[in-house]
């Protein structure tokens, strides 16, 4: 017993500076009530640690990764411009749609705005075709 007490005293003396610093922090935490919060937080962290598993971690990280990879492309300058333009189109297009048949479609094709959008869609189709072929 004597030996153990002596060992303990030696250890305390050896680390006096560190222990004083730690004590000061703990006293402050206790006085402000933050120590209780920290104890609660520790219990929360422990429950997270005990319930997580490699499988849960893998599944969730994969999901986030896939979203991240896709979102990198949907936030490129071009994609943002398109999404922004679609947003404008949705906001401005307040007229009730009328049913359109083949003649209506042909007539609409004379509209310069529709022509422009069609040109864009054809460009898109070309790029999409290439991207699909690259992945085949």
């Amino acid at each position: 017993m004597e030996d153990k007490t002596q060992e303990l005293v030696e250890k305390l003396l050896e680390n006096q500076d560190t222990i004083e610093k730690i004590l000061e922090k703990i006293i402050l935490l206790e006085k402000t009530g933050a120590l209780d919060t920290l104890a609660d937080l520790a219990a929360f962290v422990k429950v997270v640690q005990d319930t997580l598993s490699d499988e849960i971690i893998k599944k969730n990280s994969e999901l986030i990764t896939n979203l991240g990879l896709v979102s990198a492309k949907f936030t490129s300058d071009n994609a943002l411009m398109l999404i922004d333009a679609i947003g404008d189109a949705i906001c401005r297009c307040d007229k009730e749609p009328e049913p359109v048949g083949l003649t209506g479609l042909l007539k609409a094709m004379n509209d310069p705005d529709v022509k422009f959008a069609l040109g864009f869609l054809i460009n898109m189709a070309k790029a999409l075709g290439r991207a699909l072929r690259e992945r085949a």
Binding site: T65, G68, E134, R135
Partner: protein, 379 residues
Amino acid sequence: MKRVVILGGGVAGTLTANYLVPKIKERIKNEEVQITLISDRNFQIYEPGFLYMIFNRLGEGELKRNLGELVDPAVQLVIDRATKIDADNSRVVTENGSYDYDYLVIATGSRVVPEEIPGLKEGGHWFYNLEGATRLREALAKFNGGKIVVSVMGIPHKCPVAPMEVTFILHDFLRRRNLRDKSELLYTYPINKIFTMDPVVELIQPMFDERGIQYKTFFNPIEVDAKNRKVITLEGEEESYDLLIAIPPHKGAQVIIDSGLGDKGGWVPTDKYTLRVDGYDNMYALGDATNLPVSKAGSVAHFQAEVVAENLAAEIEGIEPTAMFNGKAFCFIETGWEEATYIWFDYFTPPRPVLPSKFVHFVKMAYNKAYWLTARGLL
């Protein structure tokens, strides 16, 4: 138009391309600059996953992604094998064509050459490439007890800590399968200690002792006697084994050797701060391909890519390049089936490992999936 050619579609090449694009996107759009990435395969492999694949904790399919998914769409992606870098004429020759460049980035990585140790291919296993990992997974599933030797057979090798990690995981793998009592685990290292860095030795060696993992230092295998299942060393020792897991010697890419750009190991002589290839103003090298005294690790390739991309962008803009690589590396160290620690260090700072914990292991497991965000330049 200025042409940047990046050779190699691993971590280093992909990240350099992905970091470079946003810095000079206007110039790419205006066709003042073209970035071409040449790689000999259309996918990338997440090599750290081999450590899990051999224990069947990750499948082969989880370790691969198409380069098309990973490389910025503004980069011209060419799938072709380079056969020669003609540095005098600033041209890369491939099997199917040739590409002139104003700037070249060498990111051709490293590869294992088990054939350099006679008998190793016949008598041993490794997990440092896909075929090796596939074979070892089978051998481990069939393993019924006996002596496993984990032997580092050459320095430098990729991921310096992986041999320690595989040893720790093996210990737990055998315990879980009730085979630990029937097995011996021996780890060998070529120099006079179990790892190059003292703070890591101070943490790991007592952990090996606690687990009854044996180790030998100054152990430099020169031959494997496949028939009698023995490793023979330069120091004149012989060590028997039932299952040999080797970290085979490594070399730089064949194209570096064939182009006369490498030293005798095929490593490209590179400035440790600027990452310029010695003697060439318009060539950078990074990742495993260099001769630098830093770890051959994906994290190193990552930090280097930031520097190369910044300096290339500066040069293209006509600004003096000033970014410098400080030698930073980051490595997780799995210390068992479900605990891990990590270290980071650079040219000026030694590593200080934290105590192993379950959380660090979880972060590593998450990163095994999230790595692709790093390759894309997002994480």
